[in-house]
């Protein structure tokens, strides 16, 4: 039987884990704040941005939300600071800063 994994915590006894640690739900990676791993942080300079939207699909962690045809601020809960967005931006609208 599929188990509601939101009920499993780091205190759960082994009997309560799902078989093979299977995750019975979709889109659960949103609960995993990979932003904690970040050593460099992207800084968004809105003035230089032309909304070409090249950065958004290049982000491996879907951390550049796009709303109404325009990119929004970084989702720093999930951005790992890889810097790909800064590399692909043709307008230097993204710079990388050391630290979180």
């Amino acid at each position: 039987m599929a188990t509601d994994i939101s009920k499993i915590t780091e205190k759960s006894p082994w009997q309560d884990l799902t078989e093979g640690n299977h995750v019975y739900a979709g889109g659960t990676s949103v609960y995993f704040n990979t932003g904690e791993w970040r050593a460099y942080t992207p800084i968004f300079n809105k003035d230089k941005c032309t909304q070409c939207l090249l950065c958004a699909p290049c982000c491996p962690d879907s951390s550049i939300p796009v709303k109404n045809g325009e990119r929004d601020e970084f989702d720093l809960d999930h951005c790992k600071g890889c810097g790909i967005c800064a590399k692909v931006c043709p307008f230097d609208a993204i710079t990388m800063k050391e630290g979180k």
Partner: protein, 393 residues
């Protein structure tokens, strides 16, 4: 009506695969298991089964594809030997920890090096801690019967673990012997349709397989896997009992051959057990009380049952077809000795290594082992532990 045939071990396992008609078989050829994907491909080409055969570029890929197919919801299998299994190493553990009911037709062959294509158990013994159920055969009949039972064990809800069905390379896989096959519909009814509860292609319930498990989850996850292996013991016995109902052939964790009143026992796995049985028959005629315990199920390890079966013997020789190269003995020797120790048995126990890389194990070799055990007990003549049988020099 059972079908009387004469088949090699590879033919027998391929015939069982055809009868079961699994969904997906990714495979890569390696001696001496090559014939299994070859025969299955022929069955598919002839329209005798409709398994999706995936020719892959390596064994790393064949097990990866088998895992993918199984996670997707297919009844999947592959076949390999020796270094092919070694190349699957990472995936063997992944298959087991993901709790996928995969079946692997393993044809035992020595691992390199020196490079050698003949039988020993170094491949599967190396994988003994990978979390797979391991069932071994003495001959083509047992390889066929074990394969027919494999999915029932792997897919049982209390188990959900991969199973390797092992037979001895060339000795069993290529030698043609008489065999009694079950009819197609009997096998199909026994194995049944595979209806997984959760699978990746189920659009009703999205799921993820194989997620990252940090320190706070890893041990609990392993305990659950260990418990599934423990559960497999009863399931293996239940499936064997049901199989006896359709075939008339009975199986357990091991076979006891003239062991009940034996003073001296050999414990071993695989085809050479037949040779030992010949030696036992001969020595019994001479009044020697000798017997055999032939392991069928090595994983899960039937610790208590083995100790119970051996408890009245005066001396036990454990014969390994793989050396752990640890200066101490082979894997079967270590585990059976531990089982006897835990059961507070006090008989003499000696470990022998035989048959590496296809070296013959003869009736005289088995007789010599029994004689050495008797000399040890009656005259105190020490044979030494961890002795190589049939070694020059």
């Amino acid at each position: 009506m059972a079908i009387r045939e004469r088949l090699s071990g590879n033919e027998a396992v391929s015939y069982a695969i055809k009868q079961i008609n699994p969904d997906v078989m990714p495979a890569f050829p390696i001696t001496p298991s090559t014939e299994i994907p070859q025969y299955v491909s022929t069955y598919i080409a002839n329209g005798e089964c409709d398994t999706e055969f995936i020719p892959v570029e390596s064994e790393h890929s064949s097990m990866s594809a088998t895992i993918g197919a199984s996670a997707a919801g297919a009844r999947a299998l592959t076949a390999t030997s020796s270094c092919g299994m070694a190349l699957m190493w990472e995936e063997l553990y992944v298959a087991a920890s993901n709790r996928l009911p995969i079946v692997l037709a393993l044809v035992n062959r020595a691992l390199s090096g020196p490079i050698n294509i003949n039988c020993d158990h170094s491949d599967s013994m190396g994988a003994r801690d990978s979390g797979w159920i391991q069932i071994y055969a003495e001959n083509n009949q047992e390889a066929y019967d074990n394969f027919v039972q494999a999915y029932r064990i792997a897919e049982h809800k209390n188990v959900h673990l991969p199973v390797m069905i092992c037979q001895d390379g060339f000795i069993t896989s290529h030698a043609v012997e008489n065999i009694e096959l079950l009819e197609d519909d009997v096998v199909k009814n026994f194995v049944g349709e595979y209806e997984p509860e959760n699978f990746l292609l189920n659009t009703e319930t999205p799921m993820a397989v194989g997620p990252y498990a940090v320190s706070n989850y890893y041990m609990e996850s392993k305990k659950a896997q260990s418990e599934a292996m423990n559960n497999a013991k009863q399931v293996i016995l239940d499936v064997a009992k049901e199989f006896a109902g359709i075939s008339g052939r009975e199986y357990g964790f091991f076979e006891e051959y003239r062991l009940e009143d034996a003073d001296y026992a050999i414990v071993m796995i695989g085809s050479a057990a037949g040779t030992t049985k010949d030696a036992i028959d001969k020595m019994r005629e001479e009044g020697k009380k000798v017997g055999l315990l032939k392991i069928r199920v090595f994983r899960p390890f039937p610790e208590k049952e083995i100790a119970e079966a051996l408890k009245n013997t005066k001396a036990v020789a454990i014969l390994d077809r793989a050396d752990s190269l640890n200066g101490h003995g082979g894997p079967l020797g270590s585990e059976v000795t531990a089982a006897l120790f835990n059961a507070k048995c006090t008989m003499d126990v000696r470990n022998y290594i035989y048959g590496l890389g296809g070296r013959d194990f003869r009736v005289e070799d088995a007789e010599e082992v029994f004689t050495e055990l008797e000399e040890l007990v009656t005259n105190g003549k020490e044979v030494g532990n961890y002795k190589y049988i049939g070694l020059r020099g």
